[in-house]
Amino acid sequence: MKIKEGFKLRTIVGEHIVTGEGLAQVNFNKIISLNETAAYLWEHVTGKEFSVEDLTKLLLDEYDVDEATASKDAAAIADKWIEIGIVEK
């Protein structure tokens, strides 16, 4: 999967916010708030193809978490990103 063209993460007064920018997302009128962990994942998969396994590995690299939990959380956030339309398979 990959982040759809035109979505950009910005940090505004400490908040991580994804907005639709660029011509590809000119009609996207929501803003999405990411927590620290989601922002960390987003930054590391921006501009490339990634899988749930890649997200799991990123979580394991950065956080003190067991693999089963990391894998479950990675799958959950990937599903969420696809559901709200900012990531495509």
Binding site: K8, R10, I12, V13, G14, E15, I17, T19, G20, E21, G22, L23, Q25, V26, N27, N29, I31, S33
Partner: protein
């Protein structure tokens, strides 16, 4: 013939033929007129016709009943847009704009709606050309009290103008600065200043005055009157949804976001849940005038 205007410190010019009847309709710009400036930020030039070019539609506009329709196109080396007074009405003006938003060529297709086309072209390009200059064109109604400007923000029809009127009627020392499209600007010392403009929706309130911002307040209709401070995220969402700009342009988007951040840092933002009654003005003024 050229006339120049200064709004929120930014200069633009209109270039029309000397005898053009539209000059006679531009009274709302009069308070902002300055001696002709040799290097304005942008000019709006009236033209009889525009060359036929390939236009690629990039934005169809949110079609809301009764609200102006703006269609945006990409063209070779710049942008084009078309305007209609509301959904279902024919396009009344077409404009070609260069890539840096400094030169607008405006063709009026329906003379009876020429002022509408001029105002919308000027507003759109003002927002675009000032986006990187710590400036936001807001959709808001603004009252001034105790030397500060208080902005009411919401979707059309929610009660921005109504809340301004409630302050005029119930909060002593209030006056209206603008009823639809004020401009806010982050000044060199970091504070937010609110400026009157030649654009004010249906209310003819074209004041060339400016005041430090007291607060940005979102109006939400509710059976209860109550006010609370917004979080950073909520304040961002409010400014993002209430300011003009074109986020498809990376430089413009960076500029707008830098301005949002400065405003959120400098100026408090609130949510006012309210009825359209005098008590609502009491509730908002008791909190906002104590800031």
């Amino acid at each position: 013939m050229t006339k120049s205007y200064k709004v929120a410190g930014h200069v633009f010019s209109f270039v029309f033929p000397e005898e053009h009847p539209l000059w006679g309709l531009t009274g709302q710009y009069k308070p902002f007129e300055i001696p002709t400036d040799p290097s304005p930020l942008f000019i709006v030039e009236l033209v009889e016709s525009l060359p036929v070019e390939t236009l690629e539609k990039v934005y169809g506009g949110d079609e809301e009943p009764g609200q102006p329709v703006i269609l945006l196109y990409r063209r070779n080396g710049g942008w084009a847009f078309e305007m209609a007074p509301c959904p279902g009405r024919p396009v009344c003006g077409r404009a070609y704009v260069d890539g840096t938003f400094s030169h607008v060529r405006l063709q009026i297709l329906r003379p009876s709606e020429g002022l509408f086309a001029l105002n919308n072209a000027a507003m759109l390009v003002f927002a675009f050309s000032t986006a990187s200059l710590d400036t936001l064109e807001m959709h808001a109604s603004v009252v001034v009290n105790s030397g500060k400007a208080f902005l009411w923000l919401a979707k059309s029809g929610t009660g921005k103008s109504t809340h301004s009127q409630l302050w005029l009627d119930n909060v002593q020392g209030s006056h209206l600065l603008n009823d639809d499209n004020p401009v806010v600007r982050v000044m060199e010392d970091g504070h937010t200043e609110v400026f009157g403009t030649p654009w004010s929706g249906k209310t003819p309130c074209y004041r060339n005055e400016h005041y430090p911002a007291g607060a940005f307040t979102e109006i939400v209709r509710s059976p209860e009157n109550r006010i609370r401070r917004k979080s950073v995220l909520e304040a961002y969402a409010l400014l993002y949804s209430s300011s003009s700009g074109f986020k498809a342009d990376p430089a413009m988007s960076d500029g707008l976001n830098a301005t949002y951040e400065k405003i959120i840092t400098a100026t408090p933002c609130f949510t006012l849940e309210c009825r359209p009654d005098a008590d609502a003005a009491r509730v908002s003024s008791e909190t906002l005038l104590k800031l």
